[in-house]
Every structure is written in C-alpha cells, then in structure tokens.
C-alpha cells in the first residue's frame, strides 16, 4: 500500500524535476534575450535626453520644420517597439512560471492525498542515490518560489520603465541586472545535480 503510493509520488517527482530542468534552460535563454533589448532602451533614453538638452534653433538643422517633434516621435516609437518586445518576453516568462507552478502544486497535492498511507518515517527516509520525498518537495517548492519572485520583480521593473521617465530609463540595464540572484540559480542547479541519479534511475 505505502509502497505503491511512494512509487506514484516518485514518478510525479521525476516528471517535475524534468520540467524544472527544461524550465531553467528556457528561463536563462529568455533573460539573455532581454539584455540587448535593455541596452537599446537605455540608448534610446540617452538620445531623447540629448534631444531635450539641445536647442535646435541654434544648430544648422533649424531650417527644417518641426525637426524636434519628428525626432522625438521617432524615438518614442522606437522605445515603444523595444518595450513591446520586452513585454512579449515577459509573457513567455510568465508561461514558464505557470507551468512550473502547476507541476509543483500537482505533486504537493498528490502527497497530501496520500498522507494517511505515507508516514513520516517513509517520507524522511533517504539513501545514497534517492533523496527523501520531503527534501525533494522542499527543493521543488523553493525553486517555484524563486521563479515566482523573479517574475514579479522583473514585471514591476518593466512597468516602471514603461512610464517613460528618462532618468529612470538611463539605468535600465543596471537595474535589470541587479535583479539577478545567482545564488538562487545555483541552488536550483545544485538541486538538479542532487536528484540526477534519482531522475535517471527509473
């Protein structure tokens, strides 16, 4: 009885770790795409700040009508395009987060349904190749929490950037990079290493 329940849980955990691994790769690639976008956003902000500082009427460009308005329009259009792309990336991050959350909550639910048959000794039992169920649940939850927080922070930053404050935009890349938490990422890699025997054992 408890054996079969344990096996079901193990299967579910394996699936979750698989998807966690995929998730991690995709997440990293999407974030990598964002860096150049942030740089170009910063660049555009710099350009429009320069435009505000210059007096067009004092330059040779003064003979062209409405040159300042046209330039400003162009710049803001370019900024909109970049922001649009960033938002698309955010959407893919969101779908990654959602799929992981679903996975983890399925496993936890499965465990909760079987708490009667699985006593504490069973779930805390660990061997050299297979970590205990409790530990694996814990790691999954930690990873899920990490992605959840990351997503909200990046989304908030992007929201603030969309307000068009030039001074704020000028430091976009720096702010974006500040949100990276290499420690937590390493933790997830560690986790994946720890469970590698368990995942391959089936």
């Amino acid at each position: 009885m408890s054996k079969s329940a344990l096996l079901t849980i193990h299967q579910a955990l394996r699936r979750s770790f698989h998807s966690l691994e995929n998730n991690q790769k995709l997440w990293k690639s999407v974030l990598a795409e964002c860096i150049p976008l942030m740089a170009s956003l910063e660049n555009l902000a710099e350009q429009s700040r320069a435009l505000s500082n210059v007096q067009i009427s004092n330059t040779p460009l003064k003979d062209f009508p409405e040159v300042e308005e046209l330039l400003r329009f162009k710049l803001s259009q370019a900024m909109d395009t970049v922001l649009c792309k960033l938002h698309e990336n955010m959407a893919s991050l969101q779908s990654l987060r959602d799929s992981l959350t679903n996975q983890v909550s399925t496993v936890v639910q499965l465990y909760e349904q079987n708490t009667d048959t699985l006593d504490l000794v069973t779930v805390t039992e660990r061997s050299a190749t297979i970590p205990s169920v409790v530990d694996m649940l814990e790691w999954l939850q930690d990873a899920e929490r990490h992605y959840r927080q990351q997503f909200v922070r990046r989304k908030t930053l992007l929201h603030a950037l969309s307000s068009g404050n030039l001074n704020f935009l000028a430091t976009a890349t720096k702010k974006w990079k500040e949100l990276d938490t290499p420690g937590a990422e390493d933790q997830i890699t560690d986790t994946l290493c720890k469970v590698s025997f368990f995942v391959e054992s089936s």
Partner: protein, 687 residues
Amino acid sequence: MTSLKLLSVDSSDRGSQRCRLGPGLMTALGLSVGSPVLVSLPRGSCLCIAWPRPDLAEGFLQVDMKCCSPYFLRHPPSRLTLDPEQVTLVPCPKLKGMKISVVVQSVEFKRNNSPRFVHELVKDMLKASLREMLQLPLLYPGTLGSLGVSCPKGVLLVGPPGVGKTQLVRKVVGEVGASLVVVRGPEVNCFQTLSTVSPIYLWIWMFQVVRSRPGESEEMLRGVFTQACAVAEEGPCVLFLDELDSLFPRRSGSSAPENRLVAQLLTLMDGVDRSDRFLVIGATNRPDSLDPALRRPGRFDREQVIIGPPTLRQRAAILSVLCEKMPVCSSVDLTELAQRTTGYVGSDLSALCREAAMHAMRENGSGEQTVALKHFLVALKLVRPSCLRSSLGRTDLAPVAWEQIGGLDDIKLKLRQSIEWPLMYPEAFSRLGLCRPRGVLLYGPPGCAKTTLVRAAASASNCTFLSVSGADLYSPYVGDSEKALSQLFRQARACAPCVLFLDEIDSVIGSRCNGQAPSSVQTRLLSVLLNEMDGVGLKTLERRGTQKILQVEGAEENQTAEQMSSQEVCNKDVMVVAATNRPDCLDSALLRPGRLDHILYVPPPDQQARLAILKVCTKSMPVAPDVCLEELVAGTDLYSGADLENLCKEAALLALEENMEASSIKHVHFLQSLKKTKPSLTVQQIQ
C-alpha cells in the same frame, strides 16, 4: 516532552513560511508534512507550515516569520525556550473570499499620479503660497540657510465658517505629499486615521489637546509638537491647529488654564528651530479673539491669508465639482444656480446639493434618480446662506409681482433700472462705464406703496434682501446700535449683490442740521451709514476672491464667462434702498450722488393710477356688473393706495352685512363705503 529551543531561521528557508520541527515532535503532535501550525510566542503568534528538519534532530524549532503578529516584524524572536504545547495544529477551512487593500506609500508615486479632482478654491493664489512655504525648504534647504533666512513657520487662515479652510489645508497637504498632524479641541483621545478626504491616502495624526486636569493639556501640546518633529524627519509635515480661537483665546488677567496653554504654544512655536521642517497652520473665524502675541512674525508669520465667501464664479466652480458625482438633469444651469446662491459658502452649497438630492429621492422613490432644477429650487428655500444666519435684517417676505401694484409705471421702471438691470445686463453696464447705483431713496406721502414697491423689486431680482428697522438697531448700550449697523453692512457685502432696505429712514437715522444733540444715537448711526455707503475703503478682512479688473477686450473668454466676470465686478456692492415720508428731515450728506443716487418721489395716485389700483384690488372680489370704477375714481381724490384697498374691503363688508350669502358686491356698497371712509392724505402733505 522536552522543551524546544528557538533558533533563528536558515537563509534558504526565508520566505517559505516553514516551521522546522523534529519528526518525533511532528508525530507526537499529529502533524504531517505541510500542515498549518500556529506557533504562540510571548507578544504574538506566527502562522507556518510544519516541515521536518533536514537533519531530523529533535528539540529545536525554527520559524519563518512570513505571517506573524506585527510586533515581530521589528523584533524577531530569538533565544527563546518554548513548550511543545505552544505549537498547535490549525484547522484549515476552505478559502471563501479574500479582501485586498493596496496602500501605496511612495511619495514619488503619489506625486506622479495626483488625481484630477481639485477643489476650485484651492486653485487660487492661496494654494500657491501655501505650497511654496511647504516646498521651498524642501527643495532648497541649503539656499535658505546660506541666505540667513529662516523660512516661514506659521500661517494663519482667517475666514467665515464653512468656506473650506480645513478642506483647503487637507487638499494642499495631500497634493504636496506631506503628512498632517491635526490638533483639535476638547476631547480625550490621540489617534491616527487614514484620511479619506482625498483619494490619496494620507496619514493624519489627530490630537485632542484640552484635558481636564491642570498641566495635562500642556503636556499633550508638547507631545503634539514632538510628534510633528518626528513625522517631519520623514518628509514635509504640517501641524494644523483647527479652531485656533477656542484653543488659544486671548489671555485674560486671571490665571485661567487657557493662559498656560497659550504660553506653552508660544514657547513651542519659538522653540521650533530652523532645521525642523514643519509648518504650523492655524485656522480661525474670529481672528480678533486670538492672543495678540500669536500674531506676530516668527509665530504665525503669514498673517491672515483670508478666504472670503466665494464669488459668483467660484460658486459656479464649486457647484460643478459638487454636481459631478450627482446624476443632475442636463437642463440644470449651474451658472444660474450660482447666481441664485449669493452669500452661500462652500458648505452651504454642499448642503444645498444634498438637500436637492434628498428631495429628488423622496419624490422618485427608488426609481431612476435625476436631480432637476425644481429640486434645487425647493432646496434653496430650506438651505439658507450661513453668512446671514444670525443677521438682523434677514426677512422672509411674501413675493409680490410688479403687476400687483397699480399705476406708478415710471417709478417701477426706475427701480428696475437700478436693481434688476445691473444683474441682467452687466456687460452692457460695463460697456457704458456705468456702475450700479449705491442707493435709492423713495419718498412720498404714506400709504402710496413705497414698501410694496421695494418688496416687488426684491422678489423680482434674485439678490439677497435685508430689511432693517429701528427696532432691530435699538440698544440700550452706547455704541451697540452703530456696531449692529456696521455688522449688517459687512454681512450684506459678504452676500453681494444685496439690497438693504431701510424703512422709515428718517426715524432711524437722524440729521445733523435740525437741532439734534450732536452725539445722539441717531447722529452716530448717520455717520456709520455715511461711511459704509461711501467710505474710504473696505476692511482687509472682507476681501473676497482675487481682485479682478474688468477687461473690455478679453475676446478669448467665452461669453458666459465674460458675463459672469462683469457681473462680479458690477455687483460687488450693497445697494441701499431707503423709504421715508419726510425727505426734508434727512441729512444733506446722505442725499448726494454716490450715496442715495436716485431720489424718487412716489406720488399719491392720480386718476389713472387710482383706476389701476382699484382694478387690482377688486380682482379677487366678485364685483357686480353695475359697478362703475371710473365713477369711484372720480370721487376718490386724495385717496392713497392703502385707502383705496380699505374702501374695497369696506364695501365687501357692507355687502356681507346686508346678506351673509351675498355673492357679489354692488355699486351701492361702494358708494356707501365711499361715504364712510375719509381720505388719509391732505393737500398740505402733497405739497
């Protein structure tokens, strides 16, 4: 069971809401992995999910404080020894609903997202000056210091009740993003509230200073200043002393507790040094009853930023703000409503709107609600301007139409010219450089409809009508009558355009030339009247709105706005209408142009007028067809209007005497009554 040692939480567990326990304890408590537990600690508790320790050791407890009593946010518990009973399993009912309230605390955010709703009054210069005082020290802290200037620390707001002093302070404070510390009068508590006045959330600290035991109030006041200092550390802060006159009255000779409170305030205000970035704002409607020591630079520096009752345009703006949230019928013209609400202050207007809405509700029941003009008109009768609430001259007159007065067409025209025209055609008046007459004197023999004429004029125009008689002004105390008269003028000016009616002016106001003692009450009243009608200028206390000069060539403004502004300029004065039977008894200074400009003789009715009067009088009477009014007119020489009315009444009574069931009044009755009555006018009177 052994006791548990509380250890600080592992860094990897932070934010996970886990509570690490030994597996043995979990089994003993009947917990499974992930079950919710409540950990009761001294001074609060903490909600977590149970999780076995990674090393499976017993006797230790680690709690993540993600969901705990507020006390632990600042003082995380550590090195405690707990009993296992302090960890309990929490039953876990299904979530039925959730309420989330978002409190935005960033000042930056508030400033960028300030709402569009701005009270009209705040738009004025006043706001700018208040804001400047709040923001200057913040923006250029170094500059002020290097100039050796201490920035102003106190503002005193003076204005009649209900014009929005408190509202103004709250609004400006909300816009600047400052905190507000409010001090109020005699109650007990000191509490914090989250203001709902403005859509921006704003922390307000309210204090009630006055306490019963000696010394306590002063202590409270010191506490308020300390609190303000503490709040000012975090950002701009305003200390608002509402109803300043009741808290800090003029010090008297005896050692009243108020004296000590005033002294304490003075000390505290002087003690506020330059680095403390907070502003003290006091509000009062009786500046004269404040202690003079408070009103000097260094304490309340910006003295008397005065808010008068709103002018016509301000009223229209206030009404539009108030009606924004109401389902007002589209036919309601707010400009017209603003014209009808002379002398109403902001709170009166809001009461008016409330009353109108209530009336609409009563009428329509629970159906679709729109507030129409008729509801406003009903409400206008109920809500009276608070400026006039305690005024002497406030009269409730039965409306009289011009048609109800027979004859006297040229007098009517003159009166309309002076009272109605400036209200109706202000732009025409200003185009020709005319201004409204200051005063009109009606004289003529008694009973010739002088008072009725004024009544008709008042009910035809929408201006405020104040009537005053000798009895209102009489007082046994020296100087009291004069004060009452000048008070009356002040109130009338607050509610301009206004008609002030002085009936029987010869008896109220004396003359200087016909042998009266030079210091009698009448003479003094005369001097007050002369001064009020055409004196040197107004007191600064009465200034209203911003001073506007009428521009003829302001083409950009649309027409209604222009009309409104010319009306404001044209009608800011009080018009005095006086009536007397004895114009010769009046002082010549009163009769010159600039005071009583128009002197109109109301003559005894001539033949045609008498016919018109008789027609008006008999309109409501069933007159037999044989009655010949022309014959009566011929026989009623020297009869005044009042006499003619009496004649008709007498005839009706005679008809009733004859037969109680009489259905009409016959010519005979009129002739009989003509014999009975005598004319009240004499030839001498007319000359």
